[in-house]
């Protein structure tokens, strides 16, 4: 059930009505049922995986808390990691591991056959596995109490707005909210609705519009000019941002309608002045998760290495971030590229600070923002392709093929640029408060209403609702 489908909004409206009609004590039970239905809508079988994860981690969480010795707690932690990572590896990384292992065997001229599995990755698996690992690890280190109420723990894992694309929630944030009685509050409805409207704008007007162009360019890569491939690569960053943050906005907005506050996942990443800043603003729930459960423990245990300990922790953390996105070497390289840039930033921090004092801040800051964006766009070329040779084809195309910028009709370009422009202006206004008058947060409720009404109207005018919009490249 896609967040931007009519079916989803029918499901959401029905769920919301039933949720608020029910008495308070039954509301969470209903949300568990609704979330299970939501998850089973795609494929019924996968509910058993999530039920197994819920039950095993619920019990392990309690066991860790009750364990008398550190050794015992560690054993339960490892058991939980074995179960969670085992499931994740089996569904997501098995074929990747086997293919690489067989490749290694072939290097030594030994023929082995290990079966590959033809099985679809259960939706949202990486998200809820990471969330569960975080919960168990928090109990292990004593910063979180285990949840004794099985229903509350089930909802913590299953809660449908964040089930498929995050944010990867923390137990310390979400479980206390689930323990409270939620009453109808019009502010939740208003704010949730607004957030969903923005999410739809980003997804339908910006991301899906750019996607039409991307599809044509990438499917006909060898016939495209360098400037076209460069343009497509630069706006791909906007597409990924609009797509993912749009979905996140709909998730956060939906949760808010039910009275819950999910964590923010994006914080205007295009205003980041360096890559460390970028990763504090981009997919925050994942980067902060990796920071808390991988980077910090490693850099702490390697603190006697000095800066090398930080570099080591960065390398491991970003390889994990890379491979979390998918089982290909390109994702590993993507992670490595991020780590290398961050290591460079750590190593040159003092030098860069000195340079920044010699250059007017307006120029330095804008140049930094531009360079960060360009580096991220370059990294995403690796991210978007399945193999190194495909990534190389794109890079080679940018530098070796002369020609004009391809666009079938001026309107295709206009729709893309207007969508990106509105999104950027909104983010810049949120970050720097450049304009005195703010439409969406205006003091006058009528101006606010009008602004959101125009936003919805613009979605109707310029959103991509299905494959009805297309670009013919061949001509």
């Amino acid at each position: 059930m896609l967040f931007n489908s009519i079916i989803y909004f029918i499901f959401l409206a029905c769920s919301l009505i039933i949720y608020y009609v029910l008495t308070v004590k039954y509301r969470n039970y209903f949300l568990i049922l609704a979330s299970a239905f939501f998850y089973m809508y795609v494929k019924i079988e996968y509910i058993f995986i999530i039920i197994f994860i819920i039950l095993s981690n619920y019990l392990i969480g309690i066991k860790i808390e009750r364990a008398q010795t550190k050794n015992k707690r560690k054993q339960f932690l490892y058991l939980s990691l074995f179960i969670n990572l085992g499931i994740l590896i089996f569904f997501k990384y098995w074929n990747f591991l086997i293919e690489n292992l067989l490749g290694l065997f072939r290097l030594f001229h030994t023929n082995n056959s290990i079966p590959l599995i033809e099985i679809a990755l259960p939706l949202g698996l990486s998200y809820y596995i990471f969330q569960t690992i975080g919960y168990i690890y928090d109990i292990y280190r004593g910063s979180q109490k285990s949840e004794k109420n099985i229903f509350r723990f089930s909802l913590f894992t299953l809660f449908f707005p964040k089930l498929l694309v995050g944010p990867i929630e923390r137990a310390g944030r979400l479980l206390p909210q689930l323990a409270k009685n939620i009453y109808f509050d019009k502010e939740n409805i208003i704010e949730g609705g607004r957030r969903i409207a923005w999410g739809l704008f980003k997804k339908l007007v910006v991301a899906d519009r750019i996607s039409i162009y991307q599809t044509v360019v990438i499917n006909n890569l060898h016939e495209q000019s360098g400037i076209t491939i460069l343009f497509a690569s630069l706006i791909y960053t906007f597409q990924v941002y609009a797509d993912f943050s749009g979905y996140t906005d709909i998730a956060i907005g939906t949760a808010r309608l039910f009275g819950f506050n999910l964590m923010e996942n994006f914080k205007r990443p295009f205003t980041a002045k360096n890559l460390s800043d970028f990763w504090r603003r981009w997919h925050i729930s994942l980067s902060s998760w990796v920071n808390d459960y991988i980077y910090n423990p490693i850099s702490y245990t390697r603190r006697d290495w000095g800066n090398w300990g930080i570099y080591y922790a960065l390398l491991i953390s970003f390889v994990v971030i890379g491979i979390w996105h998918g089982a290909t070497w390109n994702f590993v390289l993507f992670g490595l590229l991020q780590a290398l840039a961050l290591i460079y930033e750590v190593a040159t921090r003092k030098g860069r600070r000195k340079i920044s004092k010699k250059i007017p801040s307006l120029i330095y800051n804008n140049l930094s923002v531009l360079l960060t964006y360009l580096y991220m766009s370059f990294s995403l070329i690796i991210f978007r392709t399945d193999t190194f040779s495909q990534a190389f084809d794109i890079l080679d195309g940018i530098f070796s093929r002369p020609g004009k910028l391809f666009f079938d009709k001026p309107s295709s370009l206009l729709f893309m640029l207007i969508g990106c422009g509105i999104m950027l202006i909104y983010d810049i206004q949120q970050e720097y408060k450049i304009f005195r008058i703010s439409l969406f947060t205006n003091k006058s409720w009528l101006v606010q209403q009008l602004s959101y009404a125009f936003l919805l109207i613009y979605i109707l005018l310029a959103g991509v609702f299905d494959g009805g919009q297309f670009i013919y490249f061949a001509f």
């Binding site: 019009k186 013919y472 001509f475």
Partner: protein, 337 residues
């Protein structure tokens, strides 16, 4: 104002009041902008949207060409008119399927009966793909004015009639195209400048000859087959001479496509001439006649249109005595080269 202030003080009513105001604003904007777009859409005098409206509501041509891009860019009405002395209009529109072609035919048949209909058919036209349904979007602006399109529009999604409660929705993503269709400069733009619906392609393909060795196994969409049959039946019922053409490609096919096989069988069963130009040696050797592997450029279209007309004349000569012919044979025979 006092009433409004009093309502504001009452929290729940205030929320309801504001929600209502929001919905009213939304409705008024949708209604106002949607109706303006409707007016603007049907006021166009150039461009691909105008051509569709013209095909549905205005053309009186004796020969009408139906199809997607392979129709629109490869059949030149001017040549038909000069050789056959019958007016001709090309209703082809890029990326559309039999659902669109059938709807246009229905729209035309409501007004008059053309003498000849040419339908272009492509490989994989009966393949089950979501795109065939998504592109029914092209018909949305005619939902109100052409009730005969509604069953086809409903194929797009069960929610379509509810989405169409919005007045803007039928014109989604069309605002710039509508603007251009109303602009003077648009008539002089190369791509837009058409000849009775035909839009020439000027590029010349520089790539290699393609080879299709796929075994052509894919899931069939029985809706497309149903509408293909409905198209042929509508022509038969109206006593229209229907010709189906599968145009040249700069691709050598090893196996016959299953859609083509089915279409041929339907055509044969109903005594409809079906002409196939794929793997045609002449076109396979002439890369210079293509704009891309799937479409002929303008010089290619000129040659191909002559060949199409030859086939029609040949068929007319074989199947009917001269006096009963749909075509004014004595005229075209005299100018035939």
């Amino acid at each position: 104002m006092k009433i409004i202030d009093r309502i504001k003080n009452w929290k729940s009513l205030n929320f309801l009041f504001k929600s209502l105001v929001f919905l009213v604003i939304l409705f008024l904007l949708d209604f106002g902008i949607g109706n303006f777009l409707k007016y603007w859409y049907f006021k166009q005098y150039s461009g691909y949207l105008y051509r569709t409206t013209y095909a549905i509501d205005s053309t009186q041509a004796g020969i009408v060409i139906f199809g997607s891009s392979t129709a629109n860019h490869q059949y030149i009405p001017d040549i038909f008119e000069k050789r056959l002395h019958i007016s001709c209009y090309n209703t082809g529109r890029d990326g559309n399927s039999i659902f669109f072609h059938y709807a246009i035919l229905e729209g035309i048949l409501k007004r008059y009966v053309p003498k000849i209909v040419i339908l272009t058919f492509d490989e994989e036209d009966f393949r089950k793909v979501q795109q065939s349904y998504d592109r029914i979007t092209s018909l949305l602006p005619y939902y109100d004015s052409h009730p005969e399109f509604r069953p086809i529009i409903q194929l797009k999604s069960p929610f379509e009639k509810y989405k169409l409660l919005s007045k803007i929705y039928p014109y989604n993503s069309l605002i710039f195209a509508i603007g251009a269709g109303n602009a003077e400069f648009n008539q002089h733009r190369e791509y837009i400048n058409d000849d009775n619906g035909y839009v020439p392609l000027r590029e010349t393909w520089k790539g290699k000859l393609g080879y299709d060795t796929s075994s052509s196994k894919y899931e069939l969409d029985y809706n497309t087959i149903k509408y293909f049959k409905a198209f042929t039946k509508a022509c038969f019922d109206s006593k229209i001479k229907l010709y189906i053409f599968y145009s040249p490609k700069y691709i050598r096919y090893k196996y016959e496509d299953q859609s083509i096989r089915i279409a041929k069988n339907i055509a044969k069963h109903n005594d409809i001439p079906f002409y196939e130009f794929t793997n045609n040696p002449y076109f396979l050797e002439r890369r210079d006649l293509y704009a891309d592997p799937g479409h002929l450029n303008e010089p290619g279209a000129k040659i191909y249109t002559q060949m199409v007309i030859d086939k029609i004349i040949q068929n007319e000569e074989q199947s009917r005595p001269t006096s009963d012919s749909i075509l004014p044979l004595n005229k075209y025979l005299s100018i035939r080269k």
